[in-house]
Amino acid sequence: MYFFFLFSLLQFNYFEYVKSYDTPSDEGGSISLEWQIKEEFISEENPIKFFEIYRSEKKEGIFENVGFVLSQYNYYEDKGLKDNKDYYYQIWAIREKDTLKSEIIGPVISRAQWFNKNRFNVLVITIILFIVFLYYIEKARKGERLFIRKISGLDAIDDAVGRATEMGRPILFSFGLGFITDVVTIAALSILSKIAKKAAEYGTRLIIPNYDPIVMTAAQETVKEAYLEAGRPDLYREGDITYLTSDQFGYAAGCDGIIMREKPGAIFWQGYFFAESLILAETGHAVGAIQIAGTTAITQLPFFIAACDYTLIGEEMFAASCYLKPEPQMLGSLKGEDFLKAIILVILIISAIIATLSIVFKNFYFLNNLYELIKNIFTIK
């Protein structure tokens, strides 16, 4: 016993501190370790190569190597553990010529937490978002008139459908490579509903090649419903809303083929697009179709703007359902969005000023601390 105590004391001397604790804000099964080796044991002649982490379930038991970290790190997270069970740890600093061992630390147990403290800021912001949206929805429900700016891309839908009808050509609608789990696909479905209704009224054929079978099914249902609403269920053709392929360029080639053969009078690119966006939009332009695009893929927006007649930029797509069906509740949520945008703008301007001042006046710690505080508030860990 005395020997063990002396041995532990000798071991402890190499490290400034060794800490082990249950990893905070996690789903359990994890213990974090932190350590700092004493300055006098860090030398260029005998440098530390790496640290090895040893674990045991008993203090006097056999310690097994569970991992290692490079010498520049002093943190290790031991995962895959059983909750509510005692664990003991020892850190070995593997140096060029010898090995320094820490004291045995423990017992430490891991537990699952019921609240992720790192996401407290997100919770507060989420609650604020909900309150703002609900406030404006309620306001709109009470009958307050809310202004919504003109979105030319959505206003042009009727013209585009009308043009295709006059030319005796079909309409082509594409969701791009979006899945039903993408919010933008849901937004595109509401645009499709409006187009399908107009197409049914005018008796114009609507072609929808699909990349995802689930989106295809949703599109079939939406179009069927729109045709029913327009009183023309007889015009609905399930064969026009087909699955094409789940290959990116295969889909582009398929759509291009349809465009070249069918020569649609109006084309709607609504959804999520990647590198195929310009291939599609340029082919549409080549057949002289009026094209209305809408996407949240920022990298593809310039291509659509260059090749299409109208482009719904990002949020305009999400506003489409409210714009096309201006119910008070829908408009309320749009107004809430605008209010939040104004708040974000103010926060951005204030943060930019503080960040600039904190760099200009480096010795003025209050500004630096304030900037760090703002940064922490809006950082998701």
Binding site: N116, R119, F133, I186, L278, E282, F303, E327
Partner: protein, 232 residues
């Protein structure tokens, strides 16, 4: 009633649950999002059959009416891939064996076809850029100037042109040394500035708007205000 109300209840319950799980790491909430994604993957795996059914039915109907070369090639390729896949599976234990006929089809037919489609992008970019850069308005002129500088800043010829300009300047103003001026790489510097400052600012503006729009849309869906995805 059930047809419209039940999906709304499920959406509300699932949406709220996923928001809550973001803040609760404890089981069973912690890994619920991952579990939902696994469920979605399983369901989407089955929907491939749905897609296949739609595709085959559509082209078979077309072929029955009259012979269509496109439909014939599509169905032929589809079944050939399927047959070669099964054959490779039986012969090599996996269709992905490098010397299997299935992989031969993938390497020498599908990949070149994909590369061909991607390569077409170069020509489409040229034609779209020509239209976009025509200096008809003030904005289009700005776009043209910015795009020219960015392009020159990203290609070796930009550096070569700048060296020529630097030589010209130092000939007119002998006090300005050529070597120092040539080193500046003005096109690259302006290009970086355009990409990092105005381009990034515009991109982030759109990004913030899109994110807020997405949140508003999600809240509308969760609360059952947005119902366009539900048929009556």
């Amino acid at each position: 009633m059930i047809r419209t109300q039940l999906p709304l209840i499920i959406t509300f319950f699932t949406g709220m649950l996923l928001i809550v799980t973001f803040f609760i790491p404890h089981k069973p909430f912690g890994d619920l999002e991952q579990r939902f994604l696994i469920w979605y993957s399983i369901i989407s795996g089955f929907t491939v059959l749905l897609g296949l059914d739609s595709l085959v039915k559509y082209h078979l109907t077309k072929l029955k009416k009259e012979f269509n070369i496109h439909s014939f090639i599509l169905l032929f390729s589809l079944f050939l891939t399927l047959i070669l896949g099964f054959y490779s599976w039986f012969k090599f234990k996996t269709p992905f064996a490098l010397n299997s006929p299935f992989m031969y089809l993938y390497t020498y037919v599908i990949i070149p076809l994909q590369a061909t489609m991607f390569a077409l992008l170069a020509f489409f970019i040229a034609s779209a850029a020509y239209r976009a850069f025509r200096a008809r308005t003030f904005e289009a002129t700005l776009l043209l100037i910015a795009a020219t500088i960015v392009m020159l800043g990203r290609v070796p010829i930009g550096s070569y042109i700048w060296k020529g300009i630097a030589s010209f300047i130092s000939t007119i103003f002998p006090k300005i040394p050529y070597e120092e001026l040539a080193k500046k790489e003005i096109f690259a510097l302006i290009s970086d500035w355009i990409m990092n400052i105005p381009q990034n600012a515009a991109k982030r503006g759109i990004f913030i708007g899109t994110a807020l729009g997405g949140i508003a849309m999600s809240i509308r869906i969760i609360l059952g205000i947005e119902r366009t995805y539900i048929t009556k």
